[in-house]
């Protein structure tokens, strides 16, 4: 058996699909790391990828992962850095295939193994599962999935760290997955490096906390950080966070030397509470992590130590994310200028709403916001700010309906206001808003035994 390393360094390269393209490159070149972890999949992403796959069976994964691999593979092969990424979307095999082709083109044949994790995709199995009594009730509303079955676009179970561990044990250098949890992509390298057992709940919880800390990229290294934000240095050159994990479940968060941003207890705390539910029960496929046990300590400049994490056994369920067609929406905007900017925008809103009513158009929702006055803080902002002297206000009005023609008609009612409504109006250069399809998200739970992850490792 190979000896256990003292630490394993896992660098966050992408916090979401569309994150900074320079970050992964800087993570593998800015100093020594062992793994590069990249999270691509938000809830809505899977349905977009499913749509692409239905048009072309060779698509359905995060396509910009491939040019990124083209840039990184020569470096990571030379330095022995491994990659975990859920860039595979709804077609991990096609993604792995594309990575393999890129590697061969770079003359890396014989130097690289690619792991593929599948088994999360439930779309083809939905009817069978429903027929066997798995109702996939919505976690928020309690409704059974049969309510929207005909509109389902994608359905994926969240897999945890273990299939990624299997791929690493099989010698994979790059592991491409479908819907693996963000935290699993970070936890897996720790399990693999330290040989943690499946019932080592405190250790698995610690690795899960590590994953949560870096899964949103720079959000734990100075990005989007409210504390002392003006004095966070050199965000243009921000260093993404890196976990240095120890076999005992403690770890440190740091970033490469010479980079911008800041790693502080306050900033890491902000990330820990981000998207938090009950902090004593952070549930993943791998364990339940108790965030009320986390201890943070500033160990030096841009270095925070995390210890004390306790965990409990995983549940016997997996979370399932279903995306389904919900209806249509459109949002239109106009900008009104001083004097009386806010009043003019309010008047325009009243006129527009009357016209929609006179046309007999019915919507599930009509929402008006006055950007510059109340769009983000609502009545709290209106109460705290003198509204009379605002230099400009953007009227932002949106509608939602199952009825596409109604939404389309709405989009034609914005522009006329420029000439037939209140004065001092501008900001319509973008043209008429377009009705958008709404793909909604249906969270549910499924018996773990119904999902069998599949792991393959192929030599390039």
């Amino acid at each position: 058996m190979k000896s256990q390393p003292a630490t394993v360094r896992i660098a966050a390269g992408q916090g979401f699909w569309g994150d900074w393209l320079e970050a992964p490159y800087r993570q593998v070149t800015g100093g020594p790391v062992d793994y590069l972890m990249m999270d691509y999949l938000a809830e809505v992403t899977m349905s977009i990828l499913q749509k692409q796959k239905s048009r072309d069976a060779s698509l359905g994964y995060a396509r910009d992962f491939i040019p990124l691999m083209e840039r990184l593979l020569p470096i990571v092969v030379e330095r022995g850095i491994k990659i975990t990424a859920n860039a595979g979307g709804v077609n991990p095999r096609a993604c792995a295939q594309a990575v393999a082709e890129t590697a061969r083109r770079l003359r890396l044949g014989g130097k690289l193994r690619i792991g593929v994790v599948t088994g999360d995709d439930l779309l083809g199995r939905l009817d069978g599962l429903l027929a066997r009594g798995h109702e996939l009730r919505n976690l928020d509303t309690g409704r059974p999935l049969s309510d929207v079955r005909d509109h389902v676009l994608s359905a994926n179970a969240y897999l945890g760290a273990w299939p990624v561990v299997d791929a690493l044990r099989g010698g994979a250098d790059v592991v491409v997955t479908g819907r693996v949890t963000d935290t699993g992509l970070t936890l897996a390298p720790m399990i693999h490096a330290f040989g943690w057992r499946p019932d080592a709940w405190d250790l698995l919880a610690a690795g899960t906390v590590a994953g949560h800390t870096i899964e949103c990229g720079a959000q734990s290294s100075g990005g989007n950080c409210l504390v002392d934000w003006e004095r966070i240095p050199d965000l243009a050159n921000v260093g993404y966070p890196i976990v240095a994990a120890a076999p005992d479940g403690t770890f440190e968060i740091f970033k490469h030397p010479g980079t911008g941003g800041r790693i502080s207890v306050a900033g890491v705390t902000e990330q820990l509470v981000y998207e938090m539910g009950n902090p004593a029960e952070y549930i993943t496929p791998d364990c339940i992590a108790d965030f009320t046990t986390i201890r943070l300590e500033q160990k030096g400049k841009d270095r925070v130590r995390v210890s004390g994490v306790k965990g409990r056994p995983a549940t016997d369920k997996l979370k399932v994310s279903v995306a389904y067609f919900y209806g249509y929406k459109a949002v239109g905007t106009l900008v009104y200028a001083w004097p009386d900017a806010y009043k003019k925008a309010q008047a325009a809103d009243r006129i527009l709403r009357q016209r929609l009513a006179d046309l007999g158009l019915k919507f599930e929702a009509v929402l008006t916001e006055f950007v510059g006055a109340d769009a983000t803080h609502g009545a709290l902002a209106r109460a705290a700010t003198p509204l009379d002297e605002l230099p400009e206000v953007q009227l932002r009005i949106g509608v939602r309906s199952p009825d596409k023609p109604a939404v389309e008609r709405f989009t034609r009612e914005i522009a006329p206001l420029i000439l037939n409504g209140p004065p001092s109006v501008t900001g319509f250069a973008g043209g008429r808003p377009k009705p958008e399809e709404i793909v909604a998200y249906w969270p549910a739970l499924l018996d773990k035994r119904m999902v069998k992850p599949c792991v393959e490792v192929v030599e390039v």
């Binding site: 928020d140 539910g277 983000t376 939602r400």
Partner: protein, 111 residues
């Protein structure tokens, strides 16, 4: 009777926050700027106080969880996001700035 002298404190001056979403629920993690401020948060920033603060802006209840280890409270604001995610028509469909909306809260605390 002994008179207790009170002063007004804006949450922004004693705490920082980050918020996010889960479906139609926004979460706000509220963190004391100094450990000694944490008991003030625990005592004054109750679920009921936060529900009152956001009256008219959220349609469901407010839950509160304590993280004394991080000197933080976590609030779940249910029905805060007009359906949430892709359904929502709001600018802040993912509840990203409910954090600073909470920091507008003014507390009356003893001097």
């Amino acid at each position: 009777m002994k008179k207790v002298r009170m002063k007004k404190v804006r949450l922004l001056d004693i705490a920082h926050a980050r918020s996010g979403d889960k479906g139609d629920t926004a979460n706000v993690g509220l963190i004391a700027l100094k450990p000694e401020y944490y008991p003030i948060l625990v005592k004054h920033v109750t679920a009921a106080r936060v529900a009152r603060h956001f009256k008219g802006m959220i349609s469901g209840p407010v839950e509160r969880f304590e993280l004394p280890n991080l000197h933080a409270l976590n609030f779940l604001l249910h029905g805060a996001l007009d359906g949430g995610g892709t359904i929502s028509l709001k600018t802040d469909a993912q509840g990203k700035v409910f954090s600073t909306a909470l920091l507008r809260l003014e507390l009356e605390i003893s001097k």
